[in-house]
C-alpha cells in the first residue's frame, strides 16, 4: 500500500484479462448479497448515538479483533505487499513487519486507556481535560484529513482492480463500477451503522485470512514444505535474482532512499495506533479488558496474515515470475491474482478478486463511519451545539455526513483513478503518528499537558507533514512525481515521518511548557483514574 511504484494502474493494454470477469463479478455479488442481508438483519435498532457510532459497545473482544484486522488490512496491503515481495523481494516483507509490530503500541499504550476514556471518537480522549472547542476542532480536522487521504488511496486503487479483475478498461466503465462500490458502501454505513460495518469487516477479514492461509499451505506443499526451495525458485524466476532474498532491492539504491525507508518505518510503527478508524473500533467493546483482547486477536490474525503474504509473494515470484507480473495490467498488484490463477484457476482467482473488492468496500466503509462520527460528534454536537445535541439529531447529522463523505470518496476515486496516490496511505500513517499519537500519549501520560500543547502538537504534526510532502519528490522533481515537468522539491524524502513525528512531540512539549495555562488538575485526575480503572466509563445503553 505504501509502495510508490505499486498503485499506478492507468488503463493499459486491454489484452491480458484474467480468468472470467463474469465469475469474478458473481462471487463478489455473492459477498455483497450476504453482507447486505447481515447488515440489514443486525441493524434493527440503530437509533441512539451509542448504537450508531459504537454498536452499543456490545461486540466481544474476539469479534472486534477480527474486525480490526478487517479495517487494517486494506486491498493495498493485501495486493500491494504480496506484489512488493514478488517483485522486490525482502523489501516488501519490511512493510509487513512494520504493520504488525505497530500493534504493540496500541496494545501497551493506547487501546485500553482510549476505551476507558472516550466514547465515540478520538476527540473524546484528546478533549477530555482540555478546552473542548479548539481541541475537538483539531481532532476532527486530523480525523477528516487522515480518513479522506486513506480513502482516496483505496478508491483510486479500485479503478485498477476493476481493470485487472473485471476486464473493464475504459475510464467511463471504471467510474461506473467505482460508483456502484461507493453506493453499496454508503448503504452499509447508513443502514448498518457501526454494527453493520463491523460485521462486514468480520466477514471480510475471515474470508481474507482463510484464503491466504489456504494458498500458503498449498504453496508450501508444492515446494515440499521447504522454505529454502521456495526461496531458490523465487530468486531464479526474478529479474533481480538472489538479491530479492535480502533487503535493499527497492530502497538500497542511494543514501536518500535508505533514509526514506527508515522514515517510512517510523511512520508505520507509530502511525497505526493513531489512525482514527482504528481508535474508534475500541469503542465497540464494553470495557478495557475486551479492548485488550481485541488487540490480542488482531495481532494473532495479522501475524498469520503477514507470514502468509511472505510465502504468497515469494510464491508468485517462483511460479509466475517477476517479468510476467510487471508486464500485466496491474503490475505489482496483480501478483496475488496471477498466482491464484496459476494454482487455482478461474475459481480461485474469482475468490481473490471478490476478497480484494470486499476489502476496498469494507475499509472505505470503516473510514466513512469514522469521518462521519467525528464530524457529527466532535464538530456538530460538541462545537456547534455545545455538547447539548439531541442524540437523534446527532445521528441524523452523522448519516448525512456519511453520505457526503461517501460521495466525496466516489468522486475522488474517479478523479484519482490511475493516479499514483499510494503515498497517501503512507502519508496517513505519518499524519496519524505525528498529529495523533504524540498528543494521545501526552494526554494520557503527562499530567502537565494542556490545551496549548495539544493544539501545537496536532497542528505542527499535520502542518509539517503536509508541507514536507508538498515539497517532496512525491509532488515534483522526480520521474514518478504527480506534477512532472516542474521541480519545486526541497525536501529529499518521500515520507515525512522522520522529521514530522519528532517535531510534533517537540511542539506538544514546548507548547505546554511555554504557555501560562495550567492543566485542569481535577479533570486530569478524572481522566487518569478513568483511563486506568474504567470508573466512570460504564457502558450507557
Amino acid at each position: 500500500m505504501i509502495m510508490t511504484a505499486s498503485l499506478p494502474y492507468a488503463a493499459e493494454v486491454p489484452s491480458d484479462d484474467l480468468g472470467s470477469p463474469l465469475l469474478n463479478t458473481a462471487i463478489f455479488a455473492g459477498f455483497v448479497v450476504v453482507t447486505l442481508y447481515i447488515v440489514y438483519r443486525v441493524s434493527n435498532r440503530n437509533k441512539s448515538t451509542s448504537d450508531y457510532y459504537a454498536a452499543g459497545s456490545a461486540f466481544t473482544g474476539s469479534q472486534n479483533g477480527v474486525a480490526i484486522t478487517g479495517d487494517y488490512l486494506s486491498a493495498a496491503s493485501f495486493l500491494g505487499i504480496a506484489g512488493a515481495i514478488a517483485v522486490h523481494g525482502y523489501d516488501g516483507f519490511l512493510y509487513s513487519i512494520g504493520f504488525l509490530v505497530a500493534w504493540l503500541v496500541a496494545l501497551l499504550l493506547v487501546a485500553e486507556l482510549v476505551r476507558n476514556t472516550g466514547r465515540f471518537t478520538m476527540g473524546d480522549v484528546l478533549a477530555y481535560r482540555m478546552r473542548q472547542r479548539p481541541v475537538r476542532a483539531a481532532a476532527a480536522t486530523s480525523t477528516l484529513v487522515i480518513s479522506f487521504f486513506y480513502m482516496l488511496a483505496q478508491m483510486a486503487g479500485a479503478g485498477g482492480l476493476v481493470a485487472l479483475l473485471l476486464g473493464v478498461h475504459d475510464k467511463g466503465g471504471q467510474a461506473l463500477v467505482i460508483t456502484v462500490v461507493g453506493l453499496i458502501m454508503i448503504f452499509y454505513v447508513l443502514v448498518g451503522g457501526m454494527k453493520g460495518t463491523t460485521w462486514v469487516q468480520i466477514i471480510k477479514a475471515s474470508i481474507l485470512v482463510v484464503t491466504v492461509v489456504l494458498i500458503t499451505v498449498f504453496l508450501l506443499g508444492k515446494f515440499g514444505f521447504s522454505i529454502s526451495a521456495l526461496l531458490d525458485e523465487a530468486a531464479a524466476n526474478n529479474t533481480n535474482g538472489s538479491n530479492v532474498l535480502a533487503p535493499g532491492v527497492q530502497y538500497g539504491a542511494t543514501p536518500i532512499s535508505r533514509l526514506d525507508f527508515v522514515s517510512l518505518s517510523l511512520a508505520l510503527i507509530l502511525g497505526a495506533a493513531g489512525l482514527p478508524h482504528v481508535l474508534m473500533r475500541f469503542y465497540t467493546v464494553p470495557n478495557a479488558r475486551e479492548a485488550r483482547r481485541s488487540v490480542v486477536w488482531a495481532v494473532g490474525a495479522m501475524a498469520i496474515f503477514y507470514l502468509a503474504t511472505l510465502i504468497i509473494g515469494y510464491g508468485a515470484s517462483a511460479l509466475v515470475g517477476s517479468n510476467t507480473i510487471l508486464a500485466s495490467t496491474g503490475k505489482e498488484n496483480s501478483a496475488a491474482p496471477l498466482l491464484a490463477f496459476e494454482i487455482g484457476g478461474p475459481l480461485l482467482l474469482g475468490i481473490i478478486a471478490a476478497v480484494a473488492f470486499a476489502t476496498i468496500l469494507a475499509v472505505v466503509a470503516g473510514l466513512t463511519i469514522t469521518a462521519s462520527a467525528s464530524f457529527a460528534h466532535d464538530v456538530y454536537a460538541n462545537i456547534f451545539r455545545d455538547g447539548k445535541a439531541e442524540p437523534a439529531a446527532e445521528v441524523r447529522v452523522a448519516r448525512l455526513t456519511a453520505v457526503v463523505v461517501g460521495v466525496l470518496a466516489m468522486a475522488g476515486g474517479i478523479l484519482a483513478n490511475g493516479q499514483n496516490v499510494a503515498f497517501l496511505v503512507a502519508l496517513a500513517f505519518a499524519f496519524a503518528a505525528s498529529a495523533n499519537l504524540s498528543t494521545l500519549l501526552y494526554s494520557l501520560f503527562w499530567k502537565r499537558f494542556n490545551t496549548t500543547g495539544t493544539l501545537c502538537g496536532m497542528y505542527v504534526g499535520l502542518g509539517s507533514c503536509l508541507l514536507l510532502v508538498i515539497f517532496s519528490p512525491v509532488m515534483s522533481g522526480a520521474e514518478t512525481s504527480i506534477f512532472s515537468g516542474v521541480d519545486f522539491h526541497v525536501f529529499p524524502l518521500s515520507n515525512p515521518g522522520i522529521v514530522s513525528i519528532p517535531l510534533s512531540f517537540l511542539a506538544g512539549y514546548l507548547g505546554t511548557v511555554f504557555s501560562k495555562e495550567r492543566a485542569d488538575t481535577v479533570k486530569q485526575a478524572e481522566m487518569e483514574v478513568r483511563s486506568l480503572t474504567g470508573i466512570g466509563a460504564e457502558v450507557v445503553r
Binding site: G98, L109, S228, D232, A246, N382, A525, L532, G536
Partner: protein, 138 residues
C-alpha cells in the same frame, strides 16, 4: 500529595450497587454522569491507585522502549547492513529472514507477556479499586 486522612472515595451509597447505571438510557455527551460521580482526585491520591499506576507504567514503558529499539535496530540493519542481512544461515534462509521472523516472534511474545501481566497483576487491583469506589463489575 500524600493525605493522612483519606476522604471517602465515593459519594455513592453502597446499598444499591450498580443501580445508578440502570436508569440512564442515553447520554448525548461524553462527559461522565454527574450524579453519584466518584471522587476522582481522592481515588487518584489513594495508595492503591498510585501503586496500580506505578506497576502498570513500570511494565509498559520499558517494554515499549524495548520493542521500539529492537524494531529500529532491525530497520537500520535492513537499511545499512545489507551484507550482514544477506549472510546465509541454512539453505537459502539468511540472517535478514530470520531477524524478520524474530520480529514476529517478539511481537507475539510481548503480547502474551502483557496479557499475563495484566491478568495477574493489574486486573485484580483494578477490580479492588473499582469495588472501593462503589462501582459494580458485571
Amino acid at each position: 500529595m500524600t493525605q493522612v486522612v483519606r476522604p471517602p472515595i465515593t459519594a455513592q451509597s453502597p446499598a444499591q450497587p450498580g443501580a445508578s447505571f440502570g436508569g440512564i438510557t442515553r447520554q448525548p455527551s461524553p462527559t461522565p454522569v454527574q450524579r453519584n460521580s466518584p471522587n476522582f482526585p481522592a481515588i487518584q491520591a489513594s495508595p492503591e491507585f498510585t501503586a496500580l499506576r506505578r506497576r502498570l507504567r513500570r511494565f509498559v514503558f520499558p517494554m515499549s522502549a524495548l520493542f521500539f529499539v529492537w524494531y529500529l535496530t532491525y530497520v537500520l540493519l535492513a537499511a545499512y547492513a545489507r551484507d550482514f542481512m544477506s549472510h546465509r544461515l541454512f539453505g537459502s534462509v539468511n540472517v535478514g529472514l530470520v531477524l524478520g521472523l524474530l520480529q514476529f516472534v517478539s511481537t507475539i511474545a510481548i503480547t502474551i507477556a502483557y496479557v499475563r501481566f495484566t491478568r495477574d497483576k493489574v486486573d485484580p487491583q483494578v477490580a479492588a479499586i473499582r469495588a472501593s469506589a462503589g462501582v459494580s463489575d458485571k
